[in-house]
């Protein structure tokens, strides 16, 4: 039979979606508090069962404590918020300045992103890490899609070797992130949402990429910059907001802005492959949010 104290602590832990080291630390504090109170009541002659029942009642709702602890730890500093938004701003800068076509600048930003993502991953996954991680995963996924368009024969090799490997890396990082918090998974996927949504407008007929894709991308540079700036603003809001429901709302705004921008820029002219990519990007972004909504039920 699960004791009153264990049941209480399980409810507390299930409600608190923060770094597990912090969560376990607070749970340990609550445990010693409950043990102290139970012991005191037992010394007054109560049974263990009665004493622990009173102890958990005195502590109050575990869900409420979890919510208040979450608000304390989930709000990042301004420094963290700006650092989280930095990769979005760097990509926006690439498009404002035509540098996205320059292999040197693009490679420097890619190397910087990979380095920072690996550093953050091995340094306790701080709150600023997840947007960087999204850009780290982006080339992994995009390479797989591009490999599929190789001449016949080569495409299948890519499908059987590269894609399973890339999926393994993607799922591993996604699972680790979602274990921390489903919302961080959405934050991580957000750069893919923007990229794939824009990618979806670059096809023609049955081709994933039309021959004039680079020119089209440059024509839409202003809309692309707006998309990444919207994402940067949403990221800052996400990090700075305390309450979980407001964090969710902040994540829902960029997809609407980006969809509007893509449809306006392309005049709704998206090829069948593009619609498929768009659907993939939207589902990858929405699934973590949906899981979060289920967790609330």
């Amino acid at each position: 039979m699960v004791s009153n104290i264990s049941h209480y602590l399980n409810r507390f832990k299930a409600s608190l979606k923060i770094d597990h080291t912090i969560r376990d630390g607070v749970a340990e504090e609550l445990y010693t508090h409950l043990e102290d109170r139970t012991q005191e009541l037992e010394d007054k002659g109560l049974s263990r069962e009665e004493a622990s029942k009173i102890a958990v009642q005195s502590l109050g709702s575990p869900e409420l404590i979890a919510e208040q602890i979450y608000e304390t730890h989930a709000q990042g500093s301004w420094k963290e918020a700006i650092f989280s938004a930095l990769p979005h701003l760097l990509v926006a800068l690439l498009f404002t300045s035509y540098y996205w076509q320059n292999i040197v600048y693009a490679s420097i930003i890619l190397a910087l992103t990979v380095g920072i993502a690996i550093y953050g991953w091995h340094r306790g996954k701080p709150i600023w890490l997840f947007p960087w991680l999204g850009y780290y995963l982006l080339p992994v996924v995009v390479s797989g899609i591009l490999l599929l368009s190789l001449p016949q024969g080569w495409g299948w090799i890519a499908a059987f070797i590269y894609i399973p490997l890339a999926l393994f890396v993607f799922i591993h990082i996604m699972r680790q992130t979602a274990r921390r918090d489903w919302l961080y998974a959405s934050l991580m996927i957000a750069p893919m949402l923007v990229t794939f949504t824009w990618f979806s407008s670059l096809g023609k007929g049955n081709e994933l990429l039309a021959s004039d894709w680079a020119a089209r991308l440059q024509t839409n540079a202003l809309w692309i910059v707006i998309s990444f700036i919207a994402l940067a603003a949403a990221t800052i809001a996400f990090i700075r907001l305390k309450q979980r429901r407001y964090k969710i709302i902040s994540l829902l705004i960029p997809p609407l802005v980006i969809l509007f921008a893509v449809i306006t820029a392309s005049g709704g002219n998206i090829c069948p492959w593009g619609w498929l990519l768009l659907l993939f990007a939207l589902s990858a972004f929405s699934i973590p949010l949906w899981m979060q909504a289920r967790a609330y039920e």
């Binding site: 607070v26 504090e29 609550l30 010693t32 508090h33 109050g60 602890i69 304390t72």
Partner: protein, 111 residues
Amino acid sequence: MNYGRELLKGNTDSLLLCLISRQPTYGYQIVKELQKRSNGYFQFKEGTLYPALHRLERDNLITGKWQILPNGQQRRYYYITERGQQVLARRLATWQDFSTAVKSVIQPETT
């Protein structure tokens, strides 16, 4: 709205800083000390203490350290930081001024 509860809510941080400044202490001891010193006036759900302690720690006013007791049990003791002492001193001075001003207003005038 319970006026007493609102007053306690507005001053929780100062009360906690004050207790922690006297000696390093832990959650359950803080609850007992608050009840003892206020003669049972301060009644609250004990769990609300922990978010308040973590907020003070996040703001670098106190710091928590785990200590292992002889019986193997772990306790998290809280210590006031230098910044916490400065903030507490300012708040106590403000509270003294406020309290004196309130007393002067509500006391019947002596002729």
